[in-house]
């Protein structure tokens, strides 16, 4: 059971990483990046390193995701203005 979960987790990590890099729309890439960060936090928890999982979820997915979305919004407004 836990092996199936780990396999699924690893596959979805690879899937989200690949799509984060290849998807053409920036907003989707950012959302996929946040999803990747949350899956990564789960992976750390499965590797019995909940410390790193917590930090990854808060900094990797949360703060970085918010910064990226903010930067995307700023880019969007600037393009709309010019």
């Amino acid at each position: 059971m836990s092996f199936a979960f780990d396999l699924l987790l690893a596959l979805s990590l690879l899937w989200s990483a690949w799509h984060t890099l290849t998807v053409t729309r920036l907003d989707r890439a950012i959302v996929l990046f946040i999803a990747f960060g949350l899956l990564m936090a789960l992976a750390w928890a499965r590797l019995s390193a909940p410390d790193i999982g917590l930090a990854e979820a808060a900094i990797g997915a949360g703060l970085t995701g918010a910064l990226l979305l903010d930067a995307y919004g700023a880019l969007h407004r600037r393009q709309g203005k010019s």
Partner: protein, 217 residues
Amino acid sequence: MKRIAVVAAALVFVTALIAAMLELGAPAIDLRAPVAAHQAQSGVSHSVTAVLLNYRSYDTLLEIAVLLLALLAILAVVGDAPVSPPRAAHPVLQTLARLATPLMVVVAVYLLWAGAFRPGGAFQAGAVLAAAAVLLHLVGLAPGWSRPRLRLRLGLVAGFVVFLVMAAALLPQGALLQYPRAMAGGLILLIEGGLTLSLALILAGLFLFLSRDEAAS
């Protein structure tokens, strides 16, 4: 054709990587035993916290220095743009943020306290506090930060300064950041408290200083 070649090369590379991983020998030095053996003297009962804030506390000292440096660089770049009042988000979102923020503060304090004996610690607590600040800013309850005044500056450097002063005061012990055995737990908690405050402000500042010019531009 080119695509197939790239995919084939990537597959070969991944296979080689996996093979290399499986071929890894046992590590030359096994540090788990000494870490466990000195746990009782470290002042905390969780091995990760013992490594981060006792055995290798200079790593943590340099980490907080690097983060502070990053924030100083951002402050130098963004300059003196005026802060515009935040746009209020939907009332439901505001209510949710109002409910979540006290919970996040409680979680941060718990993580800081729990770091001594289970997974947690200053970095996680600081990140949760910073996320609460970003959340308040995003729903329009807290303004973005302009040029930092004295109090904010003090908060930003508090963790690093406490850590440095501690390191200087402990130099007579013989080694860098070697805590006296009886006081180790208290000193670590003091350093972690300062670190949590500074990390929360620095991580929140990364967002709040950078996002302030969006409405103005």
